[in-house]
């Protein structure tokens, strides 16, 4: 089960679903004048427009990296290999995404080991034999000089390619966790706020217990028991972060419950479920949206820290946290190998900063009084 949940195919289905859901939400929002006006206010800001474009680019790359196929195996002459007895085309076990396909030149330009950005020669010395048979220690020339924007790593892979592959992991952690958090927070928050009484007591108790454990500690305990992996990380981050949103939504529901339009609904005999989900929830969506966007960047940052501490996505998933973890050894070298760390920094910063700016713009447009830390 654990392996299935962490399999490439399963995650890809989730990513595609996530993006479809996002598209559906945008479609629904476009129907309502309230949201159209809100987004007009958001997009009046230049920074918000720029951030939105950058975030969209990240989304597209994550999507490209999640749609893929299993390439047929080829022999050395480039002929497609077939199974001897059935005649079926043999396929590579490792899936190849559209992003891999687009980046084939980058993927194929492997070196032997470290090389600095735009270098012509390798970073480390090697013993090379020249034509006369004399061996000497020198920096060998690269196979693909001046091609590596962020240099190459220890096994000669292009760092730019690895950083681009990290986008999918980052987006899954930010996005999938949000997808897990939001329904629970809305459900429990609205139920607790609307019904009150013992239901409220139980829900309050559960989220107080969960939120009284410092989240990094709970994540640690959970990850050490369930082991490293992208899915586990998303689930536990969801468990630690629904409480905050739930608390806010509960309070807001209690306020709304006392408003005239809800009392009118009750007087007219509208069912409780319909009141909760078609009259209260739409009026909470601005809070949900702001929290989701601002929470997104926080989760991308935490992933890096957790992967560094050895309780993150694990070594077989390419992630920015993993890149930083690798860089720990590289920084101790002299002269230091700084480009892998730098690439992770650039790509993370490039995602988190627009997410923060866009979240702020959303908050200012929708609910300037909502206090977010």
């Amino acid at each position: 089960m654990k392996y299935f949940l962490n399999s490439w195919a399963f995650q890809n289905v989730l990513v595609v679903l996530l993006i479809l859901l996002l598209a559906w939400i945008v479609m629904v929002m476009r129907q309502s004048e309230y949201w159209r006006a809100a987004f007009r206010r958001v997009f009046k800001r230049k920074l918000a427009r720029i951030s939105f474009v950058i975030l969209s680019i990240y989304c597209v790359i994550a999507l490209l990296d999640s749609v893929g196929f299993n390439q047929p195996l080829r022999d050395t002459e480039g002929q497609v290999q077939c199974s001897a007895d059935t005649g079926k085309v043999l396929r590579d076990e490792q899936g190849m995404s559209l992003l891999d396909y687009i980046l084939t030149p980058l993927r194929a330009s492997k070196e032997k080991t470290y090389s600095a950005p735009f270098a012509t020669h390798q970073f480390t010395k090697e013993t090379v034999m020249d034509e006369t048979g004399n061996s000497s220690r020198k920096y060998p020339a690269l196979k693909h000089p001046r091609r590596h924007l962020f240099g190459t790593d220890k096994v000669g892979n292009d760092v730019l390619y690895i950083a681009l592959k990290g986008i999918r992991t980052g987006m899954i952690i930010g996005g999938m966790t949000t997808l897990l958090v939001v329904p629970f927070a809305i459900l429990f928050g609205v139920f607790a706020g609307y019904f009150g009484g013992w239901l409220d007591d139980i829900i309050q108790y559960v989220y107080t217990v969960l939120s009284s454990i410092p989240s990094v500690l709970l994540i640690m305990a959970f990850m050490i028991v369930y082991g490293q992996g992208l899915t586990q990380l998303c689930v536990i981050m969801g468990i630690t972060s629904w409480t905050g949103l739930c608390r806010v939504l509960r309070g807001e529901t209690m306020k709304l419950r006392e408003m005239e339009y809800i009392q009118a609904c009750e007087a007219m005999g509208v069912s409780k479920l319909k009141i909760m989900f078609s009259h209260i929830t739409p009026n909470l969506m601005h809070i949900v949206l702001i929290t989701a966007v601002l929470g997104f960047s926080g989760r991308v940052l935490s992933e890096a820290v957790l992967s560094y501490l050895g309780i993150g996505v694990g070594a077989d998933t390419i992630s920015w946290g993993g890149m930083i973890n690798d860089a720990r050894m590289e920084m101790a070298r002299s002269p230091i190998v700084w480009w892998k760390l730098f690439a992770a920094f650039v790509f993370m910063f490039g995602l988190v900063l627009p997410a923060n700016l866009f979240g702020d713009a959303l908050r200012d447009a929708l609910d300037p009084r909502l206090r977010t830390e």
């Binding site: 009284s212 410092p214 760390l341 910063f349 900063l353």
Partner: protein, 327 residues
């Protein structure tokens, strides 16, 4: 007052019981004592006998909740839940699964090291953040405000990992001003070890802190008493630094007191990077050594401190704001 404190503390008990149960489920049902034994023995072909021996040695051989083999007190006390989980309430943390050292002693030994870093970081960053936030609130709506806010967002978008790594690179490797990592508890020496971690801690909390305090101040500034103060002809500086600050103390205090668990638990990253032997590095060691007993104790301790600090928040409200009365 005393009665109130007692009553308020008792409210925390069910919450800690919930935390305790959650930890128990996680560490003894999801991950059974047999799994633990296998992790520790670490060999491929271990016999059931070896597992039983290990469980016996570490006290995991008991039933989980109810021990039917014992008479009255033993029915409850001779169980894993009582001995391993409920004992946390009495701060009997037990022994480490890995090297059999006493966890309680180890925690006490390590707390001062954590405090060495977190207390200065906390004090300096709060002073700096409050000061900058007030300046920004003073110049609200001008380009100072805009640019400081942009700086804050930029600083918030950088992972603390990068601050520490780049800090070490610049100050220790490039300029060789301070040692890269390590700790020396002798008096004048420890400053040079502490300087960089403290600086990095202050920098990484700057963005979020300033923004948070700024919102608090801006909320206060729109209130009626501020308009009255201005109408009296007080200068904007006096209004802000004297009147607004006093009234903003309440939300600031909430934020401050809730930080207590993090003060004691230490900065995980900071301690790990700078090699400071505090509680943060204790936890990281526990993770890498798969030491479940230590981790369980630390999570409970964290939750305990959090609950205590919430009580302190309520008490401090009554001290700061005379309008809040307690029955």
């Amino acid at each position: 007052m005393f009665g109130y404190i007692i009553r308020r503390s008792l409210y925390g008990f069910p919450i800690l019981l919930g935390v305790n149960l959650l930890l128990f489920l996680l560490f003894f049902y999801v991950n059974t004592p047999d799994d633990m034994a296998e992790t520790f023995l670490g060999e491929k072909h271990i016999t059931q006998e070896q597992i039983d021996n290990w469980k016996q040695e570490h006290g995991y051989a008991l039933p989980r909740f109810i021990n039917t083999a014992e008479s009255f007190p033993g029915v409850i006390t001779q169980t894993i839940f009582w001995q391993k989980s409920m004992s946390l309430f009495a701060f009997r943390f037990g022994r480490s699964d890995q090297d059999n050292s006493d966890i309680g002693t180890e925690i006490l030994r390590r707390i001062p090291y954590s405090l060495c870093i977190t207390v200065p970081v906390f004090i300096f960053s709060m002073m700096l953040n409050l000061f900058v936030a007030m300046i920004v609130a003073f110049y609200r709506g001008t380009y100072v405000d805009t640019w400081v806010l942009i700086l804050c967002v930029v600083m918030m978008s950088i992972s603390a990992l990068f601050y520490i790594i780049y800090g070490q690179m610049v100050f220790s490797i490039l300029f060789k001003l301070v040692p890269v990592s390590g700790f020396d508890s002798k008096f004048p020496h420890y400053f040079k070890f502490l300087m960089l971690p403290i600086l990095m801690g202050v920098i990484s909390s700057f963005g979020g802190g300033v923004r948070y305090y700024r919102t608090i101040f801006l909320e206060e500034i729109n209130k009626d008493y501020i308009r009255t103060a201005r109408a009296k002809g007080l200068s904007e500086g006096v209004v802000l630094f004297k009147h607004a600050l006093k009234n903003a103390m309440l939300p600031i205090l909430t934020n401050v007191v809730v930080m207590i668990p993090f003060l004691i638990m230490g900065g995980l990253l900071t301690e790990n990077f700078f090699g400071i032997p505090g509680l943060g590095s204790y936890m990281i060691d526990a993770i890498s050594r798969q030491d479940f007993a230590v981790l369980r104790s630390m999570v409970f301790l964290g939750a305990f401190l959090y609950v205590i600090s919430l009580v302190l928040v309520d008490i401090s409200y009554t001290l700061v704001d005379p309008r809040i009365r307690i029955g």
